[in-house]
Amino acid sequence: MMLAALDSMDWPGLARVATVLALGGGYNTSLVMIGVAVLGFASGIVGTFAVLRKRAMMSDTLSHATLPGIGLAFLAAVALGVEGRSLPVLLAGAGLAGIAGVGAVHVMSRHTRLPEDAAMGAVLSVFFGLGFVLLSYIQTLGTGAEGGIAKFIYGQTAAMSEADAIVIAIVASLVVASVVLLFKEFRLLCFDPDFATAQGWPVGRIDLALMGLVVIVTVIGLQAVGLILVIAMIVIPAAAARFWTEKLARMTIVAGLFGAGSGYVGAALSALMPRFPAGGVIVLVAGAVFLFSLVFAPRRGVLSGFVRHALLSLDIETQHVLRRAYEAGEAARAPGSVAEAVRAVEIDSLSITRSWSPPRRAVVLLSLAARGFVSRRGGEVRLTSDGLDEARRVTRNHRLWEAFLISHADLTPSHVHRSADLVEHVLDPDLVSRLEDELRRGGKLPLTNEPMASAHPC
């Protein structure tokens, strides 16, 4: 049934989509797309700082709190005999109510023991509820304006006039210019407000400037995206951008571009499918960008994290195998040298490999074989001479770390990955040679054929 409903809809063809995206969808559509793109750019840039200042929920409270302002502005305008649907009047009301909502949260969390999130929840819902009551009341007046007001809830780009688009573009440009000018101040505020205060910066006023920009972006975004979803344009591009870079300036620009792209494509799609609310369509485009970033971003993404973790785990497992093989050879006390005994050890017979599931065992052995550390001879897996060297190195490193931890636990450098970091790279040479002496006295220092100095690359 659902599918039938989807089928009966009038889906635009690919050619039509391409035409609209290339600004060939008519003057008004193109204008709206550019207007929303500029809006998206500004909200992405402001959103970067709102997100880093941990003001995402505050911004959401702000946007929901605009609704009663729109209703009240309409009623006030009608009472004063002004055209109630006039955009500047409604947006002014929206802005004032948003500021009142944020102010209410601020007062509550500052002067009571109420946690800030509870204050935001209370303000958001009470203001929004009041807004709905006002809208219902306005409907009973029968002025025929309720449709004009409802568009602020879900967003309706089609209702955007040329003049509106130009105003949005101008205001958004001013917002971007403000962020560029205040970049240094915002960075300081978001990273370390206490330090900023100690240095004499009026942190409260910088915070106010940032919230003010959020208010402006919210208000000019109401018409395009709607007040329920305008928060998405502030938070999502910034959150997505964070996945791609560790630099604030770059993150700001990337967030702006993500916002602009989402706005541009979203406005085009919403023009092609006027039956869907513009806000939803634009936010879904932004959401797709976010999802892609979350999964595929090279360093911070989920996929790269998963791969990194898998490789690390494989690395540790292979080192374990090599060390266990070395230890088994040492323990065998076969006639001849330790080296021969180690090379005689059957990797498959080690308890560590037997405890693994067959796929895991296959992967680890494959990885060892790929690096030339083991080879299969006569149906049994044994270390190669490279494997023997590596096993010696791994065992020596492991034992040095162990000796170090026993005697110098208080000095442990943080961030040391003990199996991967060679002792020599982290500890100073004197200490390493002392530790070696300790091991040698206990007969636990794996002997290597080459002199120790060559293991020291620096």
């Binding site: 960075r187 240095q199 560790e246 630099k247 604030l248 961030h415």
Partner: protein, 275 residues
Amino acid sequence: MILPDHPAAPRTPIASRPEHSAQSPMSVHSLTVAYGSKPVLWDVEYETPASSLVAIVGPNGAGKSTLLKAVLGLIPVAAGGAVFWGKPLADVRRRVGYVPQRGSVDWDFPVSALEVVTMGRYGMLGWLRPVTRRHVEAARAALDQVGMADFADRQISQLSGGQQQRVFLARALAQEADLYFMDEPFAGVDAATEAAIVDVLRTLRTAGRTVVVVHHDLSTVEDYFDHVMLLNGRIIAAGPIAETFNARNLQRTYGGRLTLLDAVSQALSDVAGQK
């Protein structure tokens, strides 16, 4: 060396408070701080000696960090306050540097070590002015001074705890202040960082600066500092180490916390034995 010549002490003391020397980097008078209705600091009177390293020592919850935050204007005070070289803080902000606790910021913030240190220069720049090359170079020199020059471009989450602490220290150095407040700079750092911080403290003292450090390790107080303030809600004792840092005052500061006290007296007798 990035520290400039020590500027002359301001000449105008506050006429209404003749008891507070204009020479003293910081004079605290009748400072009382309360969280809600619970007082944390009572009636603190203190005069910081010039060109010295001062340790603030006391048990958990003694109000050590609170004292720093209160004199720096980061938290509201119930009564009293502090003057710096005889002037209100607002007049001398740039001459006062602050190293907050490492845990006070989000280290996953998208910023490099050098950019954090450059923040120390923001006060000199003023509103809307972008960071210039001269200031970046000064920040680089400060990083070098704490042995972190090689990590300038690292994102700060990729630094170890000790390295992060040194970045904070470098940021304060870049500010080129005359009086520094450091909140637990030695907490949880590695030996190399501890040595680097001590080195910086001594360099600052030699250059005539004053550093007030919240410190938790009683065994190093005598090695690192000249003066000590023993704090537990109020000042128990304050003065030169030799006169003030003794078992009796520590007992009064730490009260009945016997295990700790035992450790302290042990440490003290060890030191006495060495001398």
